[in-house]
Structures are given as structure tokens and as C-alpha cells.
Amino acid sequence: LITFTVLVWLVTLAKLPVAWRQRQDVLARAFWLALVSLAICMTLDQPPLYRAIGEWTGVPNLAFPITYAAGVIAGFWCQAFLWATASSADAVQRIRRRAGFAAATVAMIALSAPFGPTLLPNTHDVTHLPPQHWGDLLLRLSIAAWTALSLGDIAWLCLRFSRQAAGRPLRIGMLLASAGCVLVITRLLLEYGVYSVLAWHRDHQSTGELALIRWLNLGTLLGFAMIALGLGVPALTRRVAAIAAWVRDLTRYRRLRALWLALRPVSATLNWPGYRLPLIHRVPLVAVSGRLYRRVIEIQDGFLAIRPYRDAELERAMHREAIHRGLPAHSATAFVEARTVRTAVEGFLRGIPVERCAVDTARSQEQESQDEVRHLLTVASFLRD
């Protein structure tokens, strides 16, 4: 049970920096308030805390109405966020109506609690027992009615956004949140709607009923976790992609070192001017994509510098060797560049230009930077041979 709660708190805390950055934005605030209300709701529903609240305040089962009031508030913020985002012409009116409904539900919970759960022993099991007093029944039916209408509203909006989204993570996230809402609706309608009416005023509960209700409760927690996870999926996907890109860039940066070192004597004047560079860029493993970018530019500067010093005869010989080795065209070019780079560097340092090389290092204008990095990586791999 605690795992789901921790998960929701993690998503809430992960979103905190963004919420703070965008604190002027009503939408961002509503989104984060929905998350934090949901996290509070799930935390209060933890049995040890549930019992403790009753004991500290001297009001048995006080956590029961508070938990669901927090749930209603979370739901309202979520509705407000989604409707304000959907921005239909009557969004403000719709949000006001939903605020009224949420306020009425919270008022109903507060009114019925003194005539229901607070009259029973202070135990978390009360939330799953058949209603004993009219306050109990009213409270549960209020929750069931709110759930059906409000969470249904949220599930529908999430599904709509899922269909409109072009990005796969957002599509999946919204679908997950929608499915989570449906799970919560199913459980609360079954337990607090159908079961409450059928078992009203019964003073016993069969083992089968108890087991079924416990399983249904697991469904609620899973549903809430799915909602939180669904809202977090797009950002999480980006984080994972960023980590993968960091690993790829670091690997490439290191693999290009040999080529960069070989060309360094000719591009010494073009090496990265470290002055006034923020200290953070000089820390290892930080700003890796920037370092990779500089390395590639410096290598390309080096290739341009040695261009007039390349030995055409040697390059033709190397090209023949590459063909003899059965290398494909692109690898053959890289092989030739790698094999001849030292000779050209030496020519540059001695100031002896040779005739212009027959093998052109320049590639077509259409090729993108990624292709250039890949090409240099191939050159670097042959340099290490």
C-alpha cells in the first residue's frame, strides 16, 4: 500500500521545481495542487496514520472524512486543470459548476461524518464495513456519486487529450490516467454505492465480502498510482531519453579523443578558449553534449587545416588497400583519412604542402551533424587500429 503512496509523492516532488518555476501560471498551479492533494489523500489512508489521527484528536475515524475530502479536492483541481487547458468557450462556467459540486460533496462528508464513522471504533476497517448509521450511508453515497461524476469527467478528458496528442508518451500517459480513473470509479461505485445499499444496517460481514473489498481497495490504490504515473509519463520519458543521450555523447566524446589528439598539433590555435567559461563546464561528466560539440568542431577545424598538406599518392594507395579489405565506400573514406592524417599533420608542421588530395573530405550539404559525428567516429576507430 505504501509503495503507491510513495510513488505519488515522488511524482509530486519531481514536479515541484516546474510548479515553482511556473508559479504565475494558473494551469501549472492547478496541476501541482491536484497532485499534492492526491498524495495527501493517499497518505492519510495509510492505516497507522489513520488510527493515529483518531487517537490524537480524540475523534474516532476522523481520517475517514478527511481522506475523502482531500480526494474530492484533488479531483476538483484535476478537473479545473483539464477544463482550463481544454479552454472551451464555457470552461469557466464548467469549472464553477464543478467547484460547487466538490464543495457540496465536502460539505456532505463533513455533515454526515459526526453521524457515521465517528460513532464507531477507531479502526481503518471501518472504511470497509457495512454502513451502521445513516451518516455512514450518506457519506458513502456522497463519495460514490462524486466519484462517478467527477472522476468520470476526468477520465473522459484524459481520453480526449490522449486522442489529440501527437507524442506517444503523452498519449500513453493520458490513457493510463484515464484507465486509473476508471479503476477508482469501479471500486468506489461497487463498494460505496452498490455494497453500501445492499449491506445497509447489517452488523456482520462474511469473509468472502471482506476479501472482495480488500481486493477492490487495492484497485483504488493502483488506480491512483496509474493516474499519477500517467501524468508523469511524458516527463519521465524525456528524462530517460536525456540519460540515454548523455551516455551516447560521453561514449562518442571518449572515442573521438584519439582523432582529436592526432589533429591537435594543427588546430592548437583553434582549441576551445576556456576563458570565461562557467566553472560547471570544466567539471568532468558535466555538459557532455557541449564538450562533444567542441571536440567535433576542433577535429573538423583540424581536417580543414591539413587539407592542403594531404599526400594524394598515399591516399590513393590507402584507398586501394581499403577496397582490398572489402570496406564499404563510407568506411573506405574514413579508413583513408585515418591512415593519412599523421602524414598530413607532419606536412603541416613542416610547412610542406603537397598536391591537393584526390579524396575529398567534404560531404554533401544534406548530411546532418549526426552523420558527421558518426563519420568521425569511424575515422577514429581506424586510427586506433
Binding site: 514536479k15 516546474v18 511556473q22 501527437a166 516527463a235 573538423q300 587539407r307
Partner: protein, 156 residues
């Protein structure tokens, strides 16, 4: 300078910088590829009525973008440029009246503070620019949703 540029990831850096500089300076800016050996890989030449940016025609596309951005950085940073003798201009460029050349800078070394600053700015402009790896949301409502959830380009 970088903050004031506020280039979005979707922009083409060279195109948007060129248009901005042309508008700011109120005169045309021409980008000219040069295949001639022995010249610096990039040069900015200020004429009386226009700016010319020469870049190596044999460099790779990514390298060309960097060279051009380096020269444009000089203009963004309001670098004065070095005086150039008309004889030197005549030797270097064809198709340019040497009498109209007022100043020039070339990307060949970092001996001067201007060159270091321009290289730094070009690097900062281009190093973080990657083609968007996510599909652009067509629906404005979905864009608002992703932005408010902290997943939009505006927030991250």
C-alpha cells in the same frame, strides 16, 4: 547576448540570426561560400553598404554552420573589426571593390579577445541545438497541457 537572442530549438540558427542582424543593422548580409585554399575558414567583411560573411565551401554542413555563426557572433557582439588595407582586400576577394571594404575579421586564431568571444558565443548558440526528437503537438490545447505539466519546450 545569448539570452536576448531567445532562439527556439525549432529555428534554423543561421537563418534567424542573419535576418535579425540584417534588421538590426539595416543593411544586407550575404553568406558566400569560398573554395579557395589558403584563406581562413571564415571571414566577416564589412563594406560601406553591406556585410559579407565568407565561409569554407569544402567544410561539412555542421562545420559551415559553426563558421558562419562565429562570424555572425562578431556582429552580434558589435566587434569593430580590424582595418584592412585595400591591397590585402584586392588579393583576398574577387567580386568586391576593395575601396568599399571598411573592416574585416577572420576565424584563424584566438589571439584576440574578439575572436575568443565570437567562438564562445557560436559554440553556446549551436551546442544545445538539436532537431526536435518529439513530434510537435498540432493542437494548441495539448501544447498547453504539456507545458503546464512541465513537459513542454517552454519549461524544460
Amino acid at each position: 547576448v545569448l539570452r536576448t537572442l531567445a532562439l527556439s530549438a525549432a529555428d534554423s540558427a543561421v537563418q534567424s540570426l542573419t535576418s535579425r542582424i540584417e534588421a538590426d543593422r539595416g543593411r544586407p548580409l550575404r553568406l558566400i561560400p569560398v573554395a579557395q585554399e589558403g584563406l581562413p575558414c571564415g571571414m566577416w567583411v564589412s563594406l560601406e553598404d553591406a556585410d559579407l560573411v565568407y565561409y569554407s565551401a569544402v567544410a561539412s554542413p555542421g562545420h559551415q554552420r559553426h563558421i558562419i555563426c562565429h562570424e555572425l557572433a562578431h556582429l552580434l557582439l558589435d566587434h569593430p573589426g580590424a582595418d584592412v588595407t585595400r591591397n590585402a582586400a584586392r588579393l583576398l576577394f574577387t567580386g568586391v571593390d576593395p575601396r568599399t571594404v571598411t573592416a574585416m575579421l577572420s576565424r584563424s586564431s584566438y589571439d584576440t579577445a574578439e575572436e575568443r568571444e565570437a567562438e564562445l558565443l557560436a559554440t553556446l548558440i549551436l551546442q544545445g541545438r538539436r532537431t526536435a526528437d518529439r513530434p510537435t503537438e498540432r493542437d494548441a490545447r495539448v501544447r498547453r497541457l504539456t507545458s503546464a505539466m512541465g513537459d513542454g519546450p517552454e519549461t524544460d
